[in-house]
Symmetry: C2
Subunit: 233 residues, 2 copies
């Protein structure tokens, strides 16, 4: 049985990947975001070349970075992502990831939730929630409350990257929290994923060294052949 | 018909990807090496969990970096790569890529071709040629002559990454040059690929922005669904 990680374990594994195994953030973010795009394309093939676009909501940290990479790979796969990115961090990595999206003709939406909500939200066939990741601690900051409320109340399917945003990383959803239809757990699932009641739970991020897997007793299931994602449920 | 690039075009595209599109080398090398590993795993599935290991010969530049990334993904896919890396460049990126391989329990072989040749070469089911890429200009430097001779004379199948090493990037093989069974062209094929007479020619590196494709009239064939490689012949 695969291990579900608590917040401290998640942070320690992340630290090990960068400090001990000397991966760069660029490398692992590329693989993480790519696996999310593959999982989405496999699950929602009807959105390819469709009038229904995909809204990618990106947060200020690495989860948002995964979202930007995911958007770019979705575009390569023939989908039409659009990016909502309300709070940007001054960081050359994120700036470049955003630049790559723009140069791949992915629209960057106006920084205004009212606008998003009024902008015929039904034109989107899927919303990707890349707002907060495994280092999130409540409460949600003021600036993100409107988009979280929008995600809580929409009937459009949501795919959350690693953590459904606003959920406690270990305990799961708050009262009325968002209900993603799909979740892509990166590296290994976090404890809150036990409370996931959507249809599709994937594992992505096929880059965990065996040695690290053993150190943390992750007991990861085996990916099939060269697949970069694995359906867990 | 897909365009075959001359050396100047190859270099200009590379420059654009990094300077104009602001990709990092880490990102694109990760995707390039990953696509090579996927192509190899699809072509030689019998080498998985087999006594026949894969010898990865890495050169001093980015082609060698692609080889290191390819080795790591092959290991993730259940293959047994070993690395021969005769001349290393002082560069934190390559040092980290090598470190990641070692931490993934991929053996780094002694820096000595005689040793490689004597080391029961038949234990390898495939040799990956990641020595020189599209910026190669003859002649082959002395230090690489022994490994090039070994590749020219072996009966073990060879998979070349982007350019069969020792070949002229535009004109193709020198007299007696290596004859790879497989070639993975990255981004777009180079002119020398027209002289490729092996069995499997793949395209990899699915990250080319449409805008760049148009600028250079690459006329890339369409990848299928979420596939990261495409068989060209």
């Amino acid at each position: 049985m695969v291990k579900y990680l608590n917040q401290t374990e998640s942070m320690n594994i992340d630290k090990d990947l960068f400090e001990k195994y000397k991966f760069s953030v660029d490398q692992l973010m590329e693989l993480a975001g790519q696996s999310c795009a593959i999982a989405i394309a496999r699950t929602y093939p009807s959105l390819k070349n469709s009038v229904h676009k995909i809204l990618i909501c990106c947060g200020p940290g690495n989860n948002g970075g995964d979202g930007l990479v995911c958007a770019r790979h979705l575009k390569q796969f023939g989908y039409f992502p659009e990016i909502y990115y309300p709070k940007r961090t001054n960081n050359i990595l994120y700036e470049n990831l955003l630049h790559q999206c723009i140069e791949n003709d992915i629209p960057l939406l106006k920084n205004d939730v009212e606008y998003i909500a009024s902008k015929q939200l039904h034109q989107y066939g899927l919303i990707v929630d890349a707002l907060f990741g495994f280092s999130f601690k409540p409460p949600v900051k003021d600036i993100f409350i409107p988009i979280i409320r929008l995600l809580e109340n929409t009937i459009i399917p949501i795919c959350s990257i690693d953590i459904p945003s606003g959920w406690n990383v270990e305990d799961g959803p708050p009262e009325g929290g968002i209900k993603p239809e799909m979740l892509v757990s990166l590296t290994a699932p976090k404890l809150c994923a036990k409370k996931f009641q959507g249809k599709y739970h994937y594992l992505g991020g096929r880059f965990v060294p065996k040695k690290l897997e053993k150190t943390y007793n992750l007991n990861l299931p085996e990916y099939v052949e060269t697949d970069l994602i694995l359906l867990l449920n």
